[in-house]
């Protein structure tokens, strides 16, 4: 009985070790994910510059928000709706020897 348990434990240990080794090897073989370059912000936020008096006014804040909203609308705008491509139909019936 004890032998059986020991055998089972040994098999489980060996199986686990083999599994770990295979997993590690596969990970090494896998091509590394290309690192994406961090986009450089064209307009860095000037952190050390002092804000003008108008920057806290509601008219300015509203304009700022509105321009951001316009930029967002433009970025999601798709000129061509691909689901609307004209239907493809076959016109001549093909009874050529009529």
């Amino acid at each position: 009985m004890l032998k059986k348990i020991l055998y089972t434990l040994l098999v489980l240990f060996l199986g686990g070790w083999v599994g770990f080794w295979v997993n590690k090897t596969v990970k090494q073989i896998k091509p590394s994910t290309p690192t994406t370059a961090t986009p450089i912000n064209a307009q860095p936020t000037p952190s050390n510059r002092q804000e003008s008096a108008i920057a806290s006014q509601s008219a300015f804040l509203s304009a700022q928000q509105s321009v951001a909203s316009l930029a967002a609308s433009l970025s999601t705008l798709t000129i061509t709706d691909t689901i609307l491509n004209p239907p493809a139909v076959e016109l001549p019936l093909g009874f050529s020897d009529k």
Partner: protein
């Protein structure tokens, strides 16, 4: 419990119009896909029957070819009509087009729909392969007109999307002009001069956009060709112009963002 129920009812009422607006074209699109499947099925049946008929010329093969060609022609018209309905719904939902523009293209689509309805009625009277060929040729000879109408409507839908954004652009430009005016006294003459120059450039981008749109409208109203391919090529040119018009708005918006930053900070 009552409060939750009331809140749910209010939410349902508030969200209903949004769901209805998007459901109409979505429903038309689902119908279009269904009609397309039916058309492919009936077209395949017809092609098999036509091959049999051209090969064996038996009376049975002729009868089968006749039955399948009629079914295919009726389905072909249904498929085209479902597409026209989809275009109508897309026109209805487009927020950038004026009611006059919508009406113009809806009338155009309606005329094409009437042609297809009348053509479908003729199909039921087909009694021979020769009849089928003659009646099919009516659609074949009309198809370029239908195709031009489709291409014109597609351009108009794209223009509508751009026009909606353009309205937003113009409103933003006006708001920035007002903001610059209010802020005038507190700015240095140099900064004020920069603001004025940038505003001018933002306005120039809108003018360039407008010129491009005029060009698109002109090309679209004159869209015609001797073949579908020729019209497709013209349509690609129009699409390029639409993208250029969008690019002008993009550039102008980018200028607006720069202007906002300029106004936001002191020297």
């Amino acid at each position: 419990m009552k409060a939750i129920l009331s809140l749910l009812i209010v939410l349902v009422i508030l969200l209903t119009p949004i769901t209805l607006v998007s459901a109409t074209s979505e429903k038309a699109y689902q119908d279009y896909l269904f009609q397309y499947d039916q058309y492919r099925l009936k077209l395949n049946n017809f092609k098999v029957a036509r091959t049999e008929y051209l090969k064996f010329k038996t009376l049975l093969a002729e009868t089968t070819a006749l039955d399948t060609v009629k079914a295919m022609m009726i389905q072909r018209n249904s498929f085209l009509r479902s597409y026209l309905l989809l275009l109508t719904e897309k026109l209805n939902e487009n927020q950038g087009l004026t009611p006059i523009d919508k009406q113009l293209y809806q009338t155009l689509i309606q005329n094409e729909n009437t042609f297809l309805v009348n053509h479908t009625q003729l199909i039921s009277s087909i009694g021979s392969i020769s009849d089928a060929t003659d009646i099919s040729k009516q659609l074949e000879s009309h198809y370029l007109i239908l195709y031009a109408g489709i291409r014109q409507t597609l351009t108009t839908l794209s223009l509508g999307e751009l026009m909606k954004i353009n309205t937003q652009y113009k409103n933003n430009f006006e708001a920035l002009q007002k903001l610059a005016e209010i802020n005038k006294a507190s700015e240095t003459p140099e900064k004020q001069s920069t603001i004025d120059r940038w505003l001018l450039q933002i306005n120039n981008k809108q003018n360039l956009y407008q010129q491009k749109v005029e060009q698109i409208l002109m090309s679209n109203s004159q869209l015609k060709g001797n073949s579908q391919l020729e019209m497709d090529e013209l349509f690609v040119k129009i699409q390029n112009n639409l993208n250029e018009a969008k690019q002008y708005l993009n550039e102008g918006t980018s200028f607006m963002q720069e202007l906002i930053t300029l106004i936001q900070y002191k020297e």
